[in-house]
Amino acid sequence: MSAPGRLLLLGVLLANLSLAGLVVPARAEKLVVVLAAERIGITSSFSGTRVVAITVVERDGQSISRSGAYDAVALIRGPERTQVTRRKVRWAGLWVNGPSRTYVGAPTYFAAIANRPFADIAGDDLRAEHNIGLDFLRLSTRGRLPGDVDDKAFRDAFVAAKRTDGLYVENDQGVAFINDTVLRASFPLPANTPVGSYKIDVLLLSQGAIVARGEASIDLVKEGFEASVFRASREQPLLYGLASVVLAIAMGWMAGIVFRRN
């Protein structure tokens, strides 16, 4: 880690909340998610970061005993935006943008990480229900034609392009159990990660079923000078534009003086 603060500890705290006299739930594992830091600041030197999550699983006395170990999946969703995928087609001998698919409210960032291959952890129905893995990420299209064979090609291309950019992540070794009840999950946020709120969902599974869930969120925000510049460009576009013109004239004028040759 290059700088302190780059490493964020996401502690899912063991919170001993079971009070005497409460109704005993059928499933008694608990995950209480607490973030060590709730925001990541983007400054001029931001070059991506890695978020590390430490999760502790509590089993109280009434927990039904489970045979076999736990599995864990962490799903991270960045801000949602409408995104368009276009396919190039040949037109009069030239390659131009042709048909497109619009994904409404698709996450700009998505990571699915687990402790072992997703297919071994959960069945397809459960994976589809909870977006476990990139193949099962729900993406809703606008203006979709029923039975369109092209849809899968567009979807695959969209996911592949996002993976290339490091914005869609799938890693079945990203979660590690340190012991029976403590696990560590980590996921990368690349330099081109969009700003906004990131929702983190931790799912604890046993024998293909979810036994506990915990969630947290982390905000990626521009800080300092970068934040001021961005705000100025949105709130005072005219002044901002004038500033860029004045800057240009001043630079040109200075260059004219400094390098003046007679």
Partner: protein
Amino acid sequence: MTVYLPIAELTVNLFLILGIGTAVGFISGLFGVGGGFLLTPLLIFSGISPAVVVASEASQIAATAFSGALAYARRSLIDYRLGAVLVSGGVAGSLLGVWLFSLLRRVGQLDFAIGIAYVILLGGIGILMLKEAVGTMRAKLSGAPPPALRKGGDHGWAHGLPFKMRFHKSKLYMSVLPIIALGAAIGMIGSVLGVGGGFLTVPALIYLFRVPTTVAIGVSLFYTVITMSAASLLHATTNLTVDIVLSLLLMIGGVVGAQYGASVGQQMKGEELRALLALLILAVAGRFFYEFVAIPERLYSISIPDVWS
């Protein structure tokens, strides 16, 4: 060393951007052009979105043109009257261009429009320049005098049009209509392509209107300062895509590079410079043409249509 561009929302290598700015500045100083036609593709290839590139480099081009215009103004080589008429068309053209830019971006054909415009404009200009430069070189070798640009008693092709005006410094007496039309066309092309249009303005003034070369360059610089400032302002208020940090980095590289380019350029012959510039322009046009005909590496592309709304 990296730097985060707050509007492009992307981290770039500081030295890469400074290097691109300096290299393009060197070429712009060497040939006396704005260099936007090189800057746009280089920045797009380095991963910055075309919308941000075109909007941000407008102020860089204004800065480079302003330092050039100052030098021409000192030698009183700027025909402000001709410049003002050209600008009146240019501002209208820029408005139209920024609107067209938003429209093309919305329908997903911005890359195609920029690419095809580069192929046609640069290809055409490059071939014309190369032909002219090689012709001059040949004529010099064979000892014949180079063909004169301006023949005596030649009033040009736009003689019959109304609203005539006298432009002393440019040795012109002609209708303002074709000048306004030229300004509008270059303003529109400039704000869509993110180029100053010097490579179009100078030859147009020389070959169409028979303006003396040095005055044509002075007027072109004056025109570029005004229209690129307007384009910068328009992009900042309509498309919200001006990244002032990117602009500043490009300006720093650009003004320094331009000085070295200019001093190298003074040691070379005019026709050699023009031939080199023509080859460079043709290379860029060829690069864009190749994109269109070669089987694309990535058949699919992703865009976020309303990221700034």
